[in-house]
């Protein structure tokens, strides 16, 4: 999605992360903890499944009505005082934001979390042109200071241990050496960022939901950073993906009931703010909204994969994914990692660049089970595999292995003989093997093999 497209070197980067056993175990548990909190929140919401059905239907409607909804939105937004811009791609989005900041004579910018600005490479662009851009979400600030991308769409620094954050803050913010208490570290960042909020000349935010009925944007945070970033500086620029509009405020309410529960297990984010243009009480307050395509119209025209545009970026499919939890977000090499990232990437950056990602899945279907808007993620991944095969983008070794597998499975006697041999020689699979498949086996154990084949057991039981 970002430009220029990187070829995801998934295997190499996942391997690098997997080399640190302790970190992998901890990362896995931290994400599973989020998944467990999501489950608890879902169980405490009696209308949960109906709510998901409703949200899925709402999003299907939205995807069919984007021009109508944005037309209605922009009329109401302009009446509220927003200046609405439309950007075809990342370059136009960057140029638009850059132009607005320059025209206003701004240098210091505070930013709240926006995956869209990551996707469009906004920070590096603005920094290269001399702007001071400070990410204010704590996790984003941490990865910004480390000069690395977020590894998760909701908890951007989930791949880091507290000691690493402590070291970073000691170096960058002057906290005492060895300080690694999360509360003390977070409050040190608060003090530093508070100063920057008060001095900022512009605030850039993402948008969780644009509401056509009111011409307003909704932004959700737990920290309150989007609120400070819009309540203090005289200029606000909001950037929004073309899929984020809904017809009414009630529709936004449906998504709000799902978003935080799916993301972190909270019943709603701490702050959910609805903003309709400039504040009439603040003289000179200016508000701009940039609606961005950057590949979304292409995806919207793809009948197989357009449902992926329903995503509300809750991160639940990342938290539950056994591959993501062990590979970490950076391995994907895309702005959005995990199952949804692997579904979006081939459409956004092209099948050749993203060819490894649809295979970064066990197809267990856990992502589909948790997705609040019922995107059929694992089916989508399978569909991409099929398309990659059709386009000849599957490596020869895999193609040969698949062909051999198909032949083997199509010959029952051979299959039975293979099973017989396997039950006797299965222990060999536990021996360390050389070559690239070594990594694959590193965090997997071969289960104990039964004494008899399934067919023999069936015969015994049912005659």
């Amino acid at each position: 999605m970002s430009s220029p497209p990187r070829i995801p070197a998934f295997h190499r980067d996942a391997g690098r992360f997997l080399a640190d056993d302790a970190r992998v175990g901890w990362h896995d548990q931290a994400l599973w903890h989020l998944r467990a909190k999501r489950d608890k929140a879902a169980a405490a919401t009696p209308d949960w499944e109906a709510l998901r059905d409703h949200a899925a239907a709402l999003k299907a409607h939205v995807l069919d009505q984007l021009p109508e909804l944005w037309t209605r939105f922009s009329a109401n937004a302009r009446a509220a005082g927003w200046t609405v811009h439309f950007a075809a791609d990342a370059a136009e989005m960057r140029a638009t934001v850059h132009g607005l900041l320059t025209a206003a004579g701004v240098r210091r910018v505070v930013k709240s979390k926006s995956m869209l600005s990551e996707e469009c490479g906004l920070n590096p662009h603005l920094e290269a042109h001399g702007f001071e851009v400070v990410d204010t979400d704590l996790g984003e600030r941490i990865v910004q200071l480390r000069h690395e991308p977020p590894s998760h769409i909701v908890v951007p620094a989930i791949h880091l241990k507290r000691a690493e954050v402590g070291e970073l803050f000691h170096r960058e913010l002057g906290t005492p050496a060895g300080l690694d208490d999360p509360t003390a570290l977070a409050h040190a960042a608060r003090a530093d960022l508070r100063r920057r909020f008060l001095a900022a000349e512009a605030g850039i935010t993402g948008v969780n939901i644009a509401v056509a009925e009111t011409g307003a944007m909704v932004v959700c945070t737990n920290e309150g950073n989007a609120d400070l970033g819009t309540a203090l500086p005289p200029l606000h620029i909001a950037v929004v993906g073309a899929e984020k509009v809904v017809p009414t405020l009630d529709d936004a309410g449906v998504l709000l009931r799902l978003l935080a529960r799916s993301a972190t297990g909270q019943p709603i984010t701490s702050y959910t703010t609805h903003l309709a243009g400039p504040d009439p009480r603040r003289p000179g307050h200016a508000c701009h909204l940039v609606v961005v395509d950057n590949g979304r119209s292409r995806l919207a025209a793809d009948e197989h994969h357009r449902r992926a545009l329903s995503c509300i970026r809750c991160g639940a499919c990342l938290n539950t994914c056994p591959v993501y939890r062990r590979a970490s977000g950076h391995a994907y090499g895309t702005v959005i990692p995990g199952p949804i990232g692997a579904v979006l990437a081939p459409a956004m950056i092209g099948t050749a660049a993203a060819r490894a990602l649809p295979f970064a899945s066990s197809l267990c279907g856990s992502c589909t089970q948790v997705c609040p808007v019922r995107i059929d993620l694992h089916d989508q991944l399978l569909a991409w595999r099929r398309q990659l095969a059709d386009e000849g983008l599957v490596p020869l070794s895999k193609r040969l292995a698949m062909r051999a597998g198909a032949w083997f499975l199509a010959h029952p006697r051979l299959f039975a003989a293979g099973g017989w041999l396997g039950r006797r020689l299965g222990f060999l699979a536990r021996l360390p093997i050389p070559g690239p498949h070594r990594l694959w086996l590193r965090h997997r154990g071969m289960p104990d093999l039964p004494a008899d084949s399934f067919r023999a057991q069936w015969k015994n039981r049912h005659g």
Binding site: D47, P156, G224, L228, A231, T264
Partner: protein
């Protein structure tokens, strides 16, 4: 790029999937016990109904240890009840609340399902107070509780510059998934039924 050309990229033929209508979900009970339970879960607290609200607010102000500022809708009530030790929000640059120890706000609505409190351009004309104050005391009319968020959103304003739903104090779990209260906004939030 031009709006019409942009929107043309998303145009589709054929009948669109229908809008699913209003969501008629679970009928949440509008109970303060439920609200208090959820609020405690998100790091806030509800003042005991047995305590007289005026006395609860005065005690909080006396203990504030610094500047106390009330948003207009809250200030009116405090003045009428003879509560002292606070200053009105007044007018000026939005950053003028940076050293406020206690902000006192008036919420129009409370939601039992998710402990969300509604602030609008009328009750909170100047948003920055709610996010710069170290701690928040929120007054909410005892009759302004609804059960579910759907009902809450249905009552939220369709006009006016802004409204915010606030559920507990500011928080983050960005360092090792450890919950820290007070990431940027308020470090504590107490709700008093008025």
């Amino acid at each position: 790029m031009d709006e019409a050309a942009f929107l043309a990229r998303f145009r589709r033929d054929g009948a669109p999937a229908p809008h699913p209508g209003r969501f008629a979900g679970h009928a949440w009970e509008a109970s303060w016990e439920g609200f208090a339970r959820v609020l405690a879960g998100v790091g806030g607290s509800l003042a005991d109904a047995a305590q007289e609200p005026r006395a609860a607010v005065q005690a909080a102000i006396d203990l504030a240890g610094g500047r106390v500022v009330a948003a207009p809708a809250a200030g009116e009530r405090l003045a009428a009840a003879g509560v002292s030790g606070w200053e009105p929000a007044g007018n000026g640059a939005p950053g003028r609340f940076a050293d406020v120890q206690l902000g006192i706000l008036w919420a129009e609505l409370a939601v039992a399902e998710n402990a969300a409190l509604l602030f609008t351009a009328e009750s909170l004309p100047e948003r920055s107070l709610a996010f710069l104050a170290e701690r928040l005391l929120v007054l909410v009319p005892a009759g302004a509780l609804v059960g579910g968020m759907a009902e809450g959103v249905a009552r939220a304003p369709r006009h006016g510059h802004h409204h915010t739903w606030m559920s507990g104090p500011s928080k983050t779990a960005d360092i090792e998934q450890t919950l820290v209260i007070g990431a940027h906004g308020a470090k504590a939030l107490v709700v008093v039924r008025w």
